[in-house]
Symmetry: C2
Subunit: 413 residues, 2 copies
């Protein structure tokens, strides 16, 4: 039996035990995990150094090496994350709905763990612990499939987590790392419906598409964000400019950053908006009118409207009204986060109704699409699909339901 199948079987078994634990038992185990990660800091850093060494030899870029890097401080952040999970409300066991049928049947839907979660992710080794511990808190066993470039770090982190679980109520087999990072084994993992209840890919568009295209296990798609800020005719000057700058520049490399600003052609402050963005170092790519009016605006290509730049580059377009803005977003958006800035309530209503996206904003930055910012305390990813969970996914997104029906001998007639 290969590594994948062997671990999958252990996970399924462990998930049954884990699903029956109390909140206290899970929290105690998570605190042990946090403590042990701190204790084993040196070992983890030592193993992480091997990945960095190998990465340098393979000529990885500085930014990729930075994603791979663990430091004392980063380990402490990871540990803080695990400790914070202890304070989050346990979703398991919650009664969602309860009702009685005319024949006397008492129906109750309750929240239960999904079972076994398959995490598929790229270089950042912190995902190993962040996602792993989040799965445990929601009562799920987790199969972690990271990238080969982080294999020493991931092995070390999982080893430390498993050591910490010994002697706790959570079976150590509830956390497994798939050490075989070959494509063939990944493909097998994506089709392991008998053992995996869900796959959650986290990473770039390429990784996510690989999982979606090849999986038969249901996928919680987290994804690409080509987010827009639409500045309506009535937008307050400072608010609009501040939000556009924040949405673009606060952290350009993430999915909830804005990639295009749409400006109502009658909004009087477009010149100041563009100048301020330019001063902040943003490369501007605009429509014909803007290009002819502002020498520092480069012409936007068709591709630019569809791009998630993940960089300080912004596409800018003037539109004649909210409907043109909605149509543009409909054509190029990725159903992630879309904002309207303005004081015309009817336009806001129309924008909220017509734009199909996970999160819609009025007079706020798209950067708030985030589990922490939504108050979920932690996040396993941001769903850009429509089934199961949409937008930031916290602990609840890692659960399913069970219907419990209590009768007194009812039969169907």
């Amino acid at each position: 039996m290969g590594e994948l199948l062997e671990k999958a079987k252990k996970l399924k078994k462990a998930s049954k035990q884990l699903g029956m634990l109390s909140t206290i038992e899970k929290n105690e185990a998570l605190l042990k995990v946090a403590d042990h990660l701190l204790t084993e800091k040196e070992f983890i850093l030592h193993e992480n150094a091997k990945d960095l060494e190998a990465g340098k030899d393979r000529g990885l870029s500085t930014s990729l090496l930075d994603r791979l890097l663990l430091t004392e401080e980063r380990i402490e952040q990871i540990v803080d994350g695990v400790r914070q999970l202890v304070h989050l409300e346990d979703p398991i066991g919650e009664t969602i709905e309860a009702w009685e049928r005319p024949n006397g049947l008492q129906i109750q839907t309750i929240r239960v763990p999904l079972g076994v979660v398959g995490m598929v992710y790229e270089a950042r080794p912190n995902v190993t612990v962040d996602a792993g511990s989040l799965c445990l808190k929601a009562g799920n066993a987790v199969l972690l499939r990271g990238s080969s470039s982080a294999i020493h770090s991931n092995k070390a982190l999982v080893q430390v987590m498993r050591e910490a679980l010994k002697g706790t109520a959570i079976p150590e087999d509830a956390v497994q790392l798939l050490e075989d990072t070959s494509r063939e084994t990944a493909s097998e993992m994506f089709r392991l419906n008998e053992y995996l209840d869900v796959l959650i890919p986290r990473g770039g568009a390429g990784l996510i598409q690989t999982v979606v295209q090849n999986a038969t296990v249901p996928v919680l798609e987290t994804g690409v964000g080509n987010c827009h800020v639409f500045i309506d005719e009535t937008a307050e000057k400072e608010m609009a400019i501040t939000i556009a700058i924040n949405a673009k520049l606060h952290r350009p490399s993430v999915c909830n950053a804005a990639e295009t600003v749409l400006v109502h052609e009658k909004w009087p402050y477009v010149s100041e908006l563009l100048t301020r963005l330019l001063e902040k170092g943003v490369e501007l790519r605009g429509d014909e009118t803007l290009v002819s009016s502002y020498s520092f605006v480069k012409p936007a290509t068709e591709e630019d409207w569809a791009s998630e730049f993940l960089a300080p580059i912004l596409a800018v377009k003037q539109v004649s009204d909210v409907k043109e803005a909605i149509n543009h977003i409909d054509q190029y958006g990725t159903k992630h986060s879309e904002a309207i800035i303005g004081e015309n309530a009817e336009n806001v209503r129309l924008f909220f109704q017509a734009v199909d996206a996970a999160v819609l904003y009025h007079n706020a930055s798209t950067r708030f699409t985030d589990g922490e910012q939504f108050g979920y305390g932690a996040e396993i990813g941001i769903s850009t699909q429509k089934l199961h969970a949409r937008g930031p996914m916290g602990l609840k997104a890692l659960t399913t339901t069970k219907a419990i029906v209590r009768g007194t001998g009812q039969i169907r007639s």
Copy 2:
């Protein structure tokens, strides 16, 4: 452009209009559909006769021909189904949760349509109208892909539905039949992520597996039910026997029928249970002990424990306690509907906690796993998967959410 892509584009466009309609507008259109189906009864029956003729020529079995058959009465039932939808609460627009963040952001999650639903189903032409109208009520456009054996009936039904929608608020393009029933086009449909938001297969295990194995569009898996009734030591005699008979025989061909009865070895009435089942015409397949004690019980094979017989055949096994029953269900069950009959509250609690299935029953028949019986009014299928919806799926399962965030200029710091 092929038929599939052309219709998919029209559906996507229509879904946007449909998603913005009021409940009254949708209900008025549904009533028109109901009326017109009655008016065009003769035409529908005439077209249905062509399918039956072709089916006889191809040597279809009597039961398959019966599934294909429409009669005046069956059309009236279909029409009643559409009319009943009008009385169901419209899930669209419902506020699910609303909260405020410390920074003043007002977050609200609301229920919105999925968009475009792809229904993939087998012979029964009633699904064309049942599923089609249910999708419309939830604000979704629907692509119907039935089987070639029902093509004339399906064409007629969709033609009549579309005619009825003319002049209503629902665009007629919101309902489309994929007339090309080739496998190649089906495979293309299953991977049409740009236009389809979800696939719902309804039919036998083969059809469902074909969709799951080939789809990249998210699938709401409806499925096979290998359901169990566990009769605990403390079960009341008449209640247990009545429920076992009902679960097996009320309608043996459906997924919520019981396929195996597990009996606690100390329950004193096994002889009467088996005799009564036999008298009702049930073929019994049992474990060694039962076979050696009762001449009319045939030996059950390993395959029998895993079978969804869909026929008056029942596997019967004696178990030593509730844990053995749970383990048996864990090994052979399909996570659909599982029942425990008995008066030991601790065993019921354990059964409810440990058995992983969509619906669990205490002292009631598994036959209640059904949208109508749950009080959902209508049902698009019974989900046996864990994401999005589990168990009977009513209108809510055909919706997703949108988060609406209202700010006063908040940016992320």
